[in-house]
């Protein structure tokens, strides 16, 4: 855990931060609004005491209530991974600014996130399906996309050999949509 | 004791009854024999009679127009030669590359997998032979034939041995290069007509490559023409007879290098096999081909390798001449040059018989208890036969210069075929622009330089090498 990185980040990004900076093991995690993604990424990329130059990963997450876009960054100024979570993206119309203005390589990562979660990255000039066929209509990694054969906590559970308790499933799942909701914030 | 039937009617009835009984009693094979044997007898008698009658006129006719006969025989012989040559080369390539890759290679079909390429040929024959949608079917069908014939026709002027060649043209070299240049036409036809982008690229590549490598190829051979003072292949070979030091490789070292590289490109071999670069354009001009059409391309490729090696040997490595002076003269006078006479056949037969008996008896008596007489004499026959065959072969080798010639020619040629295969096993492929750049920037100036130096040397020394 890199305390100095936490101080530096607080100094730089006090305005955009949502909630406290969490640190665990070798990871430092900040949460921002999706609108602030360009400023924050620009800051952590360019600021002399941060210089997070390598984009390790860009992942979409569907928590069941909202969508998230998670960036993992690496810098030689810190022994920690920096995890930037753009939180609170609406599930019915998920939109997020693109990171391609900094990392051209984010283009395909965003394509993948769009393909799997339907998150639309404004500013990405090649936002189309990358894995799924182009006429595919749904987004497989969403939590309401059920695999009836062996998906736990899904209407089809118990018919395959990976079985889950019904009560726990009903408790964990929203009775209306059957969406498995995260107990993570 | 049956009574002999009196009247003719009774006789016929009895005969028919006997025939019907025999026929109904006979099995299928017997019936076949009953039908075929008389037919065969009649055919044989007819043949003998016609031969006796027509022998004189036939010989007169053949003697009357000998060149025509010679050409026909040569063409047929060469067409018959190509397929086994291709089989041998394919098997050789499989095996040699495998061994260089630390593999064993084909070893299941036939002894040491020797039948592999033959089985491949049958497989290719048995495959469906289709033309893709949108192909220009006429050109698509003609292209393999053109390629194959172009490479086969060049064999006509290659002297395998003194007296063993299709035609001794006095423009043999020119004819060779002309025919070699014809093969690009077939590749281009194939690439264009098969309506496939890969094929198109392959065809165009082959056109550019062969057209640009024709020039250094030809120019490097012109030096030899200057020295030998003739374009006839036989003449060129004769002019470098003698020991290995008389070969043109020592008079034209640069030309040999240029010729070898250009020949590699001409035969579309690695590292210049851009026309069927499988990792770039799937199979080049042959992408859409299948069945025997593809087989023709395949044969043509390997026959090309053989021909290029043969030409290299012919004009630079002394063709069918021995690498050292042979101690005794050809055509020993106690052996008629026209071939082995009846006397010799008799001698060979007697020697074989006697040797078999002696060896068989020796093995039977002293070879231990476990030798039965037939086994012993069979082995004796094999050993004696091998010995006699070797002896006769050696005698022929000594006696007839054409046997010697074929031996040395084939030996040299297959050395260079091995070098081609060896290069394919080792080298990666060059790029198109590097290929063309190499041809135009390096090979062509080098060939011209070689040509000028040769001409200057001949002018200065003022003694063109005359054949012996």
């Amino acid at each position: 855990m890199d305390r100095t990185l936490r101080r530096r980040l607080e100094a730089r990004l006090s305005a955009q931060l949502q909630g406290p900076i969490r640190q665990r093991h070798d990871q430092t995690e900040i949460r921002i609004r999706p609108g602030d993604v360009p400023d924050v990424l620009r800051t952590v990329h360019d600021a002399v005491d941060l210089r997070f130059e390598i984009l390790a990963d860009l992942a979409g997450v569907d928590t069941g209530d909202v969508m998230q876009v998670v960036y993992h960054l690496w810098s030689e100024t810190s022994p920690d991974w920096l995890r930037v979570i753009a939180d609170g993206i609406a599930r019915d119309d998920p939109r997020c600014p693109s990171a391609t203005f900094l990392w051209t390589g984010a283009e395909w990562l965003e394509r993948e996130a769009y393909d799997m979660f339907g998150i639309i990255f404004e500013g990405n000039r090649d936002l189309r399906r990358i894995f799924m066929p182009p006429d595919y209509t749904s987004f497989p990694l969403r939590k309401d996309f059920l695999l009836p054969d062996d998906a736990a906590r899904s209407p089809g559970e118990g018919v395959r050999h990976i079985e889950r308790p019904v009560a726990a499933a009903r408790a964990a799942a929203d009775p209306a949509t059957g969406v498995r909701r995260a107990r993570v914030s | 004791m049956r009574a002999i039937p009196a009247t003719f009617r009774e006789q016929t009835r009895a005969a028919r009854a006997f025939a019907e009984q025999a026929w109904s009693g006979a099995s299928t094979t017997d019936r076949l024999a009953l039908i075929l044997v008389p037919l065969a007898l009649m055919a044989f008698v007819g043949f003998v009679v016609s031969a006796v009658v027509m022998l004189g006129p036939t010989i007169d006719f053949l003697g009357a127009n000998q060149p025509l006969v010679r050409f026909g025989v040569a063409a047929v012989g060469i067409l018959l030669l190509t397929v086994p040559t291709a089989f041998v080369l394919i098997y050789m390539e499989l095996k040699v590359i495998a061994r260089m890759n630390l593999r064993v290679g084909p070893n299941r079909l036939g002894p040491w997998g020797a039948a592999t390429s033959m089985i491949h040929g049958f497989k290719v024959l048995s495959k469906e032979d289709f033309a893709p949608t949108g192909a220009d079917v006429t050109v698509f069908t003609l292209a393999p034939a053109v390629t194959f014939l172009a490479s086969v026709m060049t064999l006509l002027v290659i002297p395998f041995a003194p007296g063993i060649f299709g035609q001794d043209l006095n423009i043999g070299l020119l004819y060779f290069f002309a025919m070699g240049g014809l093969s690009v036409l077939g590749l281009l036809m194939a690439g264009w007509s098969s309506f496939n982008k890969y094929s198109l690229l392959g065809g165009l590549r082959s056109a550019a490559q062969i057209v640009s490598y024709e020039i250094p190829l030809t120019l490097s051979a012109v030096g030899v023409v200057l020295i030998a003072g003739s374009m006839s292949m036989t003449h060129i070979v004769m002019s470098q007879s003698g020991s290995a030091l008389d070969w043109f490789v020592f008079k034209q070292p640069l030309a040999v290098l240029i010729f070898f590289i250009a020949a590699t490109a001409e035969a579309n071999r690695t590292p210049f096999d851009l026309t069927e670069a499988d990792s770039e354009i799937v199979a080049g001009f042959a992408t859409e081909y299948s069945g025997m059409r593809f087989g023709f391309f395949f044969f043509a490729e390997y026959v090309n390798v053989f021909i290029m090696s043969a030409l290299l040997v012919t004009i630079f490595f002394g063709g069918w001449t021995a690498p050292f002076n042979w101690p005794w003269a050809y055509n020993l006078n106690w052996l008629d040059a026209s071939g082995i006479g009846l006397l010799w056949i008799g001698i060979v037969a007697v020697v074989l018989f006697v040797a078999t008996d002696i060896l068989g008896a020796a093995i039977w008596l002293f070879g231990g208890r476990d030798w039965s007489a037939p086994a012993a004499f069979g082995l004796g026959f094999l050993v004696a036969g091998a010995g006699v065959t070797a002896a006769v072969g050696l005698a022929c080798f000594i006696a007839f210069d054409w046997v010697q010639g074929i031996f040395w020619f084939m030996a040299k040629t297959y050395v260079f075929v091995f070098v081609f295969v060896w290069m394919r096993a080792t080298l990666p492929r060059v790029r198109v622009d590097q290929l063309m750049g190499f041809a135009w920037k390096w090979l062509l100036p080098a060939a011209l330089l070689n040509l000028f130096v040769t001409a200057a040397a001949i002018l200065i020394l003022n003694q063109p090498v005359t054949p012996r």
Binding site: P148, G156, P165, V166 | -
Partner: protein
């Protein structure tokens, strides 16, 4: 790249020529088999020990754990009551229509689980909470579950096996080992007294007769919904031998009529 042009190529050619004569790495497969590592896990076969006994204990764990569902095990349990099946659908046809159903987004029917009705597992959850999900307390857990439901539902056993982490086979084995745990709802109970007077009066023979007729034994598993148990205390004033049905004495059951009576009883209970 070396300064002399062509030197690298020459070196390469030399290397290949050397390899031409070196021993080859090919393994002629059918003649010489390559040696398989001792630890190799790749073979799917039932192994036998040195005495020729089958090593497989049919614990179904391989079929449960197989990630690609290539292991398929099925069959009846030792009492041949319940058909158990782990793994994918047997035939290609089944699998195809199953995947079609799956694509359509509906639950996939599997014939192997027709007997397996889901139940309300709240009680099981409470019991497990009380026992702290400890697989070592399997027997009390199972007893309490049977007390709660009156029998052991398969759903409950699967649930217990899952949440406690104990393999299903273990729970199932425990449940089938102890004779007082049963998978069947008990409908009626026949009691036979074994006090001295009743034994003298022949209650032992009656018990045997009833047991043979029902296909069970005294204190054994209930058969056809009828359990055969020992009357704890000889109810006062009852004649010997004492045979009770759901606690009510049956005075007219004697050694001769016991078998017929119990058979008719079984028929009625089944119907």
């Amino acid at each position: 790249m070396s300064f002399i042009p062509g030197l690298g190529i020459a070196r390469g050619m030399a290397l290949t020529l050397r390899r031409f004569f070196e021993p080859k790495a090919t393994i002629q497969y059918p003649e010489t088999k390559p040696d398989v590592a001792v630890r190799f896990r790749g073979r799917l076969q039932l192994l036998y020990d040195e005495f020729g006994n089958l090593k497989c204990e049919t614990c179904f764990q391989c079929a449960q754990a197989c990630p690609v569902e290539c292991i398929d095990m099925g069959g009846h349990d030792t009492k041949s009551r319940f058909y158990t099946h782990w793994g994918p659908a047997e035939t290609f046809g089944e699998r195809r229509e199953e995947s079609a159903v799956r694509r359509s987004g509906r639950p996939v029917p599997d014939n192997a689980f027709t007997h397996f009705e889901p139940i309300d597992l709240v009680a099981v959850e409470e019991i497990l909470e009380a026992r702290d999900y400890d697989p070592r307390e399997m027997l009390p857990i199972l007893e309490e579950v049977q007390a709660a439901y009156g029998y052991l539902p398969i759903a409950a056993i699967k649930h217990i096996g899952h949440v406690t982490g104990a393999p299903y086979a273990l729970v199932y084995g425990t449940a089938t080992y102890y004779s007082h745990l049963s998978f069947e709802r008990r409908i009626r109970t026949i009691g036979v007294c074994r006090c001295t007077s009743c034994l003298l009066a022949g209650s032992g023979r009656i018990a045997n007769a009833i047991g043979e007729a029902l296909g069970t034994r005294l204190g054994g598993r209930p058969a056809g919904g009828i359990a055969l148990e020992q009357v704890p205390v000889h109810s006062p004033g009852a004649a010997s031998p004492l045979v009770t049905l759901d606690g009510k004495p049956q005075p007219d059951v004697t050694e001769t009529s016991a078998a017929a009576w119990s058979r008719s009883l079984a028929k009625k209970s089944v119907a």
